[in-house]
Amino acid sequence: MNRVEGRVKVTGLATYAAEYPAENVAYAYPVQAQIAKGRVKRIDVAQALELPGVLAVLSCEDPPRVAEDADPELALFQRRDVAYRGQFVAAVVADTYENARAAAAAVRVDYDPDDHDVRLSADHPGLYRPDVVNPGFPTDTAKGDVEAGLAQAATTVDVTYETPVLHNNPMEPHAALAFWDAEGRLLVYDTAQGASGSRAAIAKTLGLPPDRVRVVSRHVGGGFGAKGTTRPQAVLAALAAREVRRPVKIALTRHQMFDVTGYRTPTIQRVRIGADAEGRLTALEHVAYEQTSTLLEFAEQTAVVGRVMYATPNLRTAHRLVRLDVSTPSWMRAPGECPGMYALESAMDELAYAAGLDPVELRVRNDPETEPEGGLPFSSRNLVGCLREGARRFGWERRDPAPGIRREGEWLVGTGVAASTYPARRMPCQAVATVRDGDFLVQVAAADIGTGARTALTRIAAGALGVAPDRVHVELGDSDLPRAPVAGGSMGTASWGSAVVRACEELRRDGREGRADTTEEIKRDAELARHAFGAQFAEVRVSSVTGEVRVSRLLGVFAAGHIVDAKLARSQFLGGMTMGMGMALMEETPIDEEFGGFLHRDLAQYHVPVCADARHVEAVWLEEHDDALNPMGSKGIGEIGIVGTAAAIGNAVFHATGHRVRELPITPAKILAPRF
């Protein structure tokens, strides 16, 4: 189905957060820390206050009032401590954006700097074991005896992979426009992946009852997780508007987005696998080392994929964190699964070579009956089907497994495969469906961050009502609408759609209105392992002259329950896979060890794939029937497309060259390294 808001978007009529008109609006511009650790000694605002149009300067010299239990990344200007380079230490409010920016440059900040530490390593003395990893999984698990399993194995691999800092880089920058009314109620137009969650976070930060806050996010230009939690710009707009008693608008620059809107933690992952003579796993161990900030614990669930993927009697997974002088990592498309599957699926490829087995066959042979860690039955699991279908479509049976032997001129050609997985969850949600002017209005505080959620919900509602989609109008992106969970974790459509179906069913019974709240329904969900699966196949060409890697073919085959809409689904899968190609070959934010903070904070330096890189990217799916999910029978598809892509490409690079690069991204420098 075409996007219901497609016309307003391509004609420029869709209004994004920073674009709402506001009378008498003022602009806020942040001042950012230029040290990585230490204390603000003094902030001199005298010169800034004298500049044209300046209304106020907010800083720790006169901290604005926020709740004591506010998230430390959102409790702006409350403390003198600097936790990372780029942290907001002050902000100027002025009549124009230009005046605010000019005055921000005139704010003098004196620091007492301390020595900083921004480098993650697997032997860092500060490594510790967090209590849980996101979003609430056990930090470590152990089943059987890994050492014994490795000792009895016919083949073992013991390999370490590294992934760099990655930034989400949605097209639309983080922005907010805040209004306070005479009764002290706050309205924020925010770039949020969930209006309900943003309202709760802003209310909590400011110490307001949630019903005093309204958040509107009708159109959001991408998020990939970077807008999944409330970001400082929304709080800053609200604090500044309260201070100057005018509406205040803020839009972050791309540089500021790199600094304060989260990123994927770098990881160091050690994977040990043992297999018997038939290729059946005797042991699997996956240990992930990652970073968080000194402000907050963010524990990416990188090693949980081993708890889901393959049958083995001896299984150990573990996570270790270190608190560094960095901004807090956050959600980025398929947090946990994406970096974790890069390591696990690369290691499986190494095992296939070591054992002399076909990598598709190795995965098929180790497909488990039940979830390997907990023993729960799967609601549905079609990894084997995806691998077989992908192998058939890709021409895998013609593949010679020998690495480094296919040449087209200077180009070495290789193919690789990797599995994908992502949990299929849903969260409680409310929705209302009513008859309006003979058509149907469906309301839910869902978010469409460019995924097509509005369109998918239109189709779901039309199906539940038994009417054509053009008779359904879906209203979303407003916290005044029935409460809904975030567009994240690939659970948006499953959660919102469940409530929409129930509301529409109620409307059909009632004839006028249907209201739904799925809290109780979800409590009754059976205890099952619910996951989508997929298989990714890549063909690469690697220049033996330059080390350049070009992906000539990428195929993803997914089993993700019932696909709500083929057109929307295809673009979600392709988008994920293309982002995975970026992770494999080019994306990386260098950390500045000397000064702290990040380098390459713009899109000229942080490269994401361009059209010329995505030459032949194809996504297909198996129609999967699963009654144990939700009324649509669907599994989320926003994230699984990126899972496994980097491993498939890395495996193909090995097949092409005979050289295994274990640190992403796989750049010409790393390809050329062994030829020095």
């Binding site: 002259v545 330059t546 080390g547 890697v549 070009r550 490269h607 361009v610 420098a669």
Partner: protein, 323 residues
């Protein structure tokens, strides 16, 4: 961003006469305006020279004169350029994106600044931006920076593709300025950083590039090749502009090699050229020539890959050009 005045020049001579310290000439603005937004460039006044009547591409006897304000897109598409200097057209088309090339001018392309991450960040030191403040790239992020001709003060690279092709073609840059008109032969427009990395070129304050003159195309086959991890819209890790003319007896009659992405200037590989001319056009000779050139390389830990990359690129390109 510092407030600035904007004025439009009426002619090249008027522009030079109108020049005052603090003035910067504005071409397409694809680099200068970015640098102004970043606070790296802080002119008091922009003198827009982009609409001067210097937008022609004309034949003058056996030479071709390209005006300073010709847009990169128009340069690459021009029949004279495509027919006589296909390597130049190819170099231009590997640069930036279609949208940027539509705006960017010939002179602006040559005078664009390095994309070194420290140079572009006013909160960090950089000798090129703030002389004497230090060069953190040497111990830090230099993966894309220079392996040839760098100094203790600066390891920046010049990012232009056009300049590399012009260096190989022995193009002449026509300059007018307070001191009168003069011709600067390529690759002599750009200079090595030495102790004055803030000076990218030999131009004096107020100098204005009015055009580029291309001598007759050298005999032989030519090629421009650019290496980058992303397939498009990325600066070169290393690039090469090469011309090779092989005589009937199999010896190299003439050879031009210029490298991009390796130095503060488009790097004319003169040692390699000298090693090749008069000798056999064989893979072995190409390799020895490349190694003779790269003996001067002084790579840093994270850009050492550029040495084998440049070597491979020289050899592969010459092998492709050899009959």
């Amino acid at each position: 961003m510092k407030p600035f005045e904007y004025a439009r020049a009426t002619g090249p001579a008027e522009a030079v006469r109108d020049y005052t310290p603090g003035t910067m000439y504005l071409g397409g603005g694809t680099n200068l305006v970015d640098l102004m937004k970043l606070g790296v460039a802080e002119p008091d006044r922009l003198l827009d020279v982009s609409r001067l009547p210097l937008d022609g591409i004309e034949e003058a006897r056996d030479r071709v004169r390209v005006g300073a304000t010709v847009r990169n897109t128009d340069l690459a598409a021009h029949p004279l350029i495509r027919a006589r200097y296909p390597m130049l057209a190819r170099a231009v088309l590997t640069g930036a994106s279609g949208q940027v090339r539509n705006v960017a001018t010939v002179a602006g392309n040559l005078l664009q600044r390095t994309r070194c991450t420290y140079f572009q960040d006013v909160t960090r030191p950089c000798n090129k931006r703030r002389p004497g403040s230090g060069c953190p790239a040497i111990a830090g992020d230099h993966a894309n920076l220079a392996i040839l001709g760098a100094s203790d003060a600066c390891v920046a690279t010049h990012p232009s593709d056009l300049a590399v092709a012009l260096a190989a073609l022995d193009a002449e840059v026509h300059v007018t300025g307070p001191g009168g008109d003069r011709i600067v032969p390529m690759p002599g427009l750009h200079r090595l950083p030495g102790h004055e990395p803030e000076r990218d070129t030999v131009l004096a304050p107020g100098d204005l590039i009015t055009g580029v003159e291309l001598p007759p195309p050298p005999p032989g086959a030519s090629l421009y090749r650019k290496v980058r991890e992303r397939a498009s819209f990325a600066f070169a890790l290393v690039s090469i502009a090469a011309v090779l003319d092989v005589a009937a007896d199999g010896t190299v009659a003439d050879c031009r090699i210029a490298l991009g992405g390796v130095a503060h200037v488009p790097w004319r590989a003169e040692r390699a050229e000298r090693a090749l001319i008069g000798g056999p056009a064989t893979g072995e000779a190409f390799l020895q020539a490349a190694e003779a050139e790269l003996e001067q390389a002084a790579p840093l830990p994270r850009n050492a890959y550029k040495v084998p990359l440049a070597r491979n690129l020289i050899v592969a390109t010459l092998e492709e050009l050899a009959p």
